[in-house]
Symmetry: C2
Subunit: 409 residues, 2 copies
Amino acid sequence: MALIVQKFGGTSVGSIERIQNVAKRCLAAQRAGNKVVVIVSAMSGETNRLLGLAHALTAVPNAREMDAIAATGEQVAAGLTALAIEAEGGRARSLLGHQVKVLTDGAFTKARIRTIDHSKIQATLEAGEIAVVAGFQGVDDDGNITTLGRGGSDTSAVAIAAAIGADACEIFTDVDGVYTTDPNICPSARKIDRISYEEMLELASLGAKVLQIRSVEIAMKYKVPVHVRSSFNETPGTWVTSEDKSLEDVVVAGVAYDKNDARVHLVGVLDKPGVVAEVFAAIAEKNVSVDMIIQNATSNSEGRADVTFTVSRTDLVRAKPFIEEVASKVGASAVKYDEDIVKVSIVGLGMRSHAGVAAKMFKLLADEGINIQAISTSEIKVSCIVHQKYTELAVRTLHDGFGLGKPVG
Amino acid sequence: MALIVQKFGGTSVGSIERIQNVAKRCLAAQRAGNKVVVIVSAMSGETNRLLGLAHALTAVPNAREMDAIAATGEQVAAGLTALAIEAEGGRARSLLGHQVKVLTDGAFTKARIRTIDHSKIQATLEAGEIAVVAGFQGVDDDGNITTLGRGGSDTSAVAIAAAIGADACEIFTDVDGVYTTDPNICPSARKIDRISYEEMLELASLGAKVLQIRSVEIAMKYKVPVHVRSSFNETPGTWVTSEDKSLEDVVVAGVAYDKNDARVHLVGVLDKPGVVAEVFAAIAEKNVSVDMIIQNATSNSEGRADVTFTVSRTDLVRAKPFIEEVASKVGASAVKYDEDIVKVSIVGLGMRSHAGVAAKMFKLLADEGINIQAISTSEIKVSCIVHQKYTELAVRTLHDGFGLGKPVG
């Protein structure tokens, strides 16, 4: 008998009929001899409806009240799912964040889980019932309702799986699993059967939206096997697990892209010690995170250098005034912005032991005439900034160039 | 400086605009120098929407889950009201049943309040904030969410007013106050300026739907002055308070009617000791409450009697099978049902000291040719069952006959 956590997203509980399907699925797992904990998101559209009501009252709603309001979406979904399981002849009990309880810090709208008390979930399972836990929500030390941020139900699911020592955490979603790249722009994209936490973490942070990044971090930390799969069919999806030999044989596991970056170019900055540090300290102070940084002395100007970096496009509007302030302080002659960029990345554990992966990436892009504007690398990832018009071409080129495509046949 | 509780019903918070009006109203009360606690119901229509979702899944939903689902209506309304107060420049904090906390028994969907911890409300008020409490909801010993039944927000408001020792509990609603009778059928109906708890209790239980019965019981027990008034204007409404001399001068305070009764007639029951007791014990056992009971030996049948009683029409469908079972047990020759009845009642503290009030009621009805089918009385009330077709005529006749009409001007 296994102990499994099943998480269903908003689309999977988006209507009465779909909730009934979820109920059948949980019951099937229980009848197969498992103890089952279900985590649900709000019915699709509900969170937006609730936030819309709040924003109709005020442009900048109080975060504590926003959480109290938003958390009702999951509360309703949990209650309805428990009812649906009973309607199918099973027994279930809904548990809210403050009932479980999922203790978080007090950072409303983006709280982080501190501890999870597993006693109520365990008691529910011992009684032969399915525990239906409202995802996305927790409670702080003072009993205030908190939420974990968008996609937080993935985090709830994996954290609860870790707390109760589940054998697996199944993330049901509207896609079949994790793909080697976005199938919408690359027809030869293939579903990945197994991937390591580290690779999944890179893919998630590079814009593959199947799993919330924090949930992967928690899964990795507590070694929770995660199974990403479709809520609409029985096909096995993608297992996200600890790395092993077989995984390391794959050089590149996937290709990701992210259009949410913008490039900032400071022209002719004074080229002396401490200047660049001053620029990035000023930016960090405003809570804007910088991704890639490139500095190069320009040939035509003595004692001057150009500094280029990328920030997320959503931060750019907010960041512009103080970027320009610090730019003039460090003597820059101009500040240029470019939003027509895309970050294309390859990810794979195998890169650690295979030399020349980055070089091959650059050559594949060059062969298609795609100019690389910036490069950043980590142990298991290489990212290139290119013009946004090349997005699809670059992704397909890398995907097929690294042999990720479906076998021809 | 006074401490006041203001309760707003579903219609009063039924839209963003109305919530903004509620916010203005609370802030005005606070700026006038009062400490203010606001209790809100769910936005009108929301509770029905939520119950509709549950009933789409199962005909008889689990009561615990129903409460977890239904309580979200007030949770959202409380959060939105707090946001609206902040948008108007005030400071507010929403508090849910489990946060306050409002401790109830475990009778889901109709829980009763046991204790209310006033510390969080007091701390909120001490901080200069308006406390916005979600009505209708509580939490049991085990942390399960409970609800107080339909109209339970009135009960929340009065119970919280009692717990914090409020100077007054204002119940804002869509009518101007408590009327001498239903203005829809009696144009001369007048708003009552002051009424005693006892009279309000009788009027509420007789079908005047302005206040929930339990809230009046609590107000009476803890002597909370209640002010029923319109949320759409500033006109003073009706004060419900302890009786005093001036109130006792009024013989009849109001006329109520209730179409929710049905009459059951057992023909030819064996007329011997214990038989009637057997009938009503059997009915009580099924949790059906009987209102009036009339027993009379029939002239044409030796050793037989007819038994007539009334039950609420909603209970009748459920009650019929075991009424018929016990009827045959006690030898009844037939069971007849009549749903075309109405209970018309007069209520007034003054009846205690004024003789002949009931007799005057019977005469007023008889003068209009209205036949009385059954009568029941209490210390401050007389009720008559008449044919339903006489509803409006009977109410107008009693209302004007006892001098409750508007002064002719």
